[in-house]
């Protein structure tokens, strides 16, 4: 079974066999409102943890999406470019942003599991 992790920047990470699939959480999309533009990174890009690698824009504002862990981008979700509203429809499923080959699995340890993330969201609101 895949391991699920979350960041304080409202990203989700699903880890399977050394590969992390990354997107923004359902809470994040509901805060952003109608998503009208998504920019995903280029395949092959090597990102450090915390680096801005993608952008999501709603009618209201632009938000950066960070690499929650270091690694190389191996695949991006091209559907988001043509159908950014997918982020509102299925943020934690079909609207994944990119996949990276994990450089340092230990970085995952500092991230939250779902229960911790939900508590974090509740506390912040």
């Amino acid at each position: 079974m895949a391991t699920e992790r979350f960041t304080k920047d409202h990203e989700w990470i699903r880890v399977e066999g050394g590969i992390a699939t990354i997107g923004i959480t359902n809470h994040a999309q509901s805060q952003l409102g109608d998503v009208v533009f998504v920019e995903v990174p280029e395949v092959g890009r090597k990102a450090a943890q915390g680096e801005t690698v993608a952008v999501v824009e709603s009618v209201k504002a632009a938000s950066d999406v960070y690499a929650p862990i270091a690694g190389e981008v191996i695949e991006v979700n091209g559907d988001l470019t043509g159908t950014p509203a997918l982020v509102n429809e299925d943020a934690e499923g079909k609207a994944w942003f990119f996949r990276i080959r994990i450089a340092n699995p230990a970085e995952l340890d500092a991230l939250m599991d779902r229960a911790a993330y939900e508590a974090f969201v509740k506390e912040a609101s």
């Binding site: 409102g33 009208v36 920019e39 952008v55 709603s58 009618v59 209201k60």
Partner: protein, 384 residues
């Protein structure tokens, strides 16, 4: 997302605050008020609903004031205001409304406002002013300071303001506000809602659509708001969609597209300065404005259409293709009816021609765009 700290002054609320909360609105600080930025359907749907049906906006945060001449003469009150604004106020007919700007001595814009000559002959010698919420206290002080004897400014905080905008606004009000359907764009009258609530209604707005603004005693506004929302054609619309609607309509937002450094000519508002005032001057900054009218301004507000899908937000640098800096985006985002990014900004003279290719610096990358004619979405005013 900003948090309110204990040191900031308490935010004001409009009389409809509780209704907004009950409707599930997301409330945000705006111009000193807690205002609904969106309701549960969200900005995109609210925007499209307004363009298709009718959107109801609470704009009670805006400043409403009466400027009144003690001698009840229109000429007296018009002359007093004409000393501060470049529009022809003297030639307004009863119940005629006009858009203008309060100017500083350099011809910069202190605020933009609507001016309406009282609709009824018995109230003549009065002008109703509607000014921006964020500027209202400064505006009132500025106006009061410059008034001649015999003319007084009276703010009307006891009045609320609603806007009903969209192609079905006229049908919605037809059965409820006497005379509403027969009004022409930029005219006003005194009437009643459902025959019982007195109001001042103008056919105007800030969306590019046909529609009305209703000035209603604060104590009665809740009834009008609730009654209008029972109409299936009407949905409540927040400030988010108000902004995207006015941007598509090419209308200026004070503090963004116009401010104390921009003149009405630079801002493309020369249409709001009538012939007599252009010739005679007699308003603050007349020298600069007459010079810009004759010789062209150094920079000009233009529409900007990015070629791609990425919105260019306020503050984005505008560059010529060879890299010279031309100016800055002053409003920008996604236009739901245009179904793409739209923006406005200032460019150097010589680059203001629609079709001119330009670049926008978005996140360190030059994105191609072009100067576009305004509005992005055609105005649909009820001109009679």
């Amino acid at each position: 997302m900003s948090a309110t700290t204990g040191t900031e002054p308490a935010l004001e609320r409009t009389p409809l605050y509780a209704s907004h909360v009950a409707l599930g609105a997301k409330m945000v600080p705006f111009a000193g008020y807690e205002m609904p930025v969106q309701y549960p359907p969200g900005i995109l749907k609210e925007h499209l609903h307004t363009r298709q049906h009718a959107g109801l906006f609470d704009v009670s945060h805006m400043g409403q004031a009466m400027l009144v001449a003690a001698d009840r003469s229109h000429a007296t009150v018009a002359a007093a205001l004409e000393a501060l604004v470049p529009a022809d106020i003297l030639n307004l007919g009863l119940g005629q409304q006009r858009y203008t700007q309060l100017l500083n001595a350099d011809g910069g814009i202190l605020d933009d406002l609507m001016v309406c000559r009282s609709p009824d002959a018995k109230d003549d010698g009065g002008l109703m002013l509607i000014v921006n919420a964020a500027c209202k206290h400064a505006d009132y002080a500025h106006i009061a300071k410059h008034l001649p004897g015999g003319v007084t400014l009276t703010p009307m905080p006891e009045r609320a303001l609603l806007a009903l905008q969209g192609p079905q606004a006229a049908e919605v009000l037809a059965g409820r506000v006497r005379g509403a359907a027969d009004m022409g764009f930029m005219t006003a009258r005194s009437s009643e809602f459902d025959g019982t609530i007195d109001l001042h209604i103008s056919r105007s707005g800030y969306t590019g659509e046909d529609g009305y603004e209703l000035s209603i005693p604060a104590k009665d506004v809740g009834v009008v708001w609730a009654q209008l929302l029972t109409d299936p054609r009407v949905q409540p619309i927040g400030l988010g969609a108000r902004d995207s609607l006015r941007l598509e309509a090419g209308l200026c937002l004070y503090g963004h597209d116009i401010d104390e450094t921009t003149s009405p000519i630079e801002a493309g508002l020369a249409w709001s300065i009538q012939k007599r005032r252009r010739a005679e001057g007699g308003f603050p900054g007349a020298r600069r404005i007459q010079d810009e009218l004759a010789n062209g301004p150094k920079r000009r507000r233009v529409g900007i259409k990015p070629d791609g899908r990425a919105p260019a937000r306020e503050g984005t640098e505008i560059l010529a293709l060879l890299g010279d800096k031309l100016g800055t985006v002053t409003s920008g985002g996604f236009g739901p009816s245009v179904n793409g990014p739209v923006a406005m900004g200032y460019v150097k003279a010589g680059y203001a021609e629609p079709g001119k290719p330009i670049n926008l610096m978005v996140r360190g990358k030059a994105l191609s765009a072009s100067v576009a004619p305004l509005p992005f979405f055609p105005h649909r005013y009820a001109r009679k």
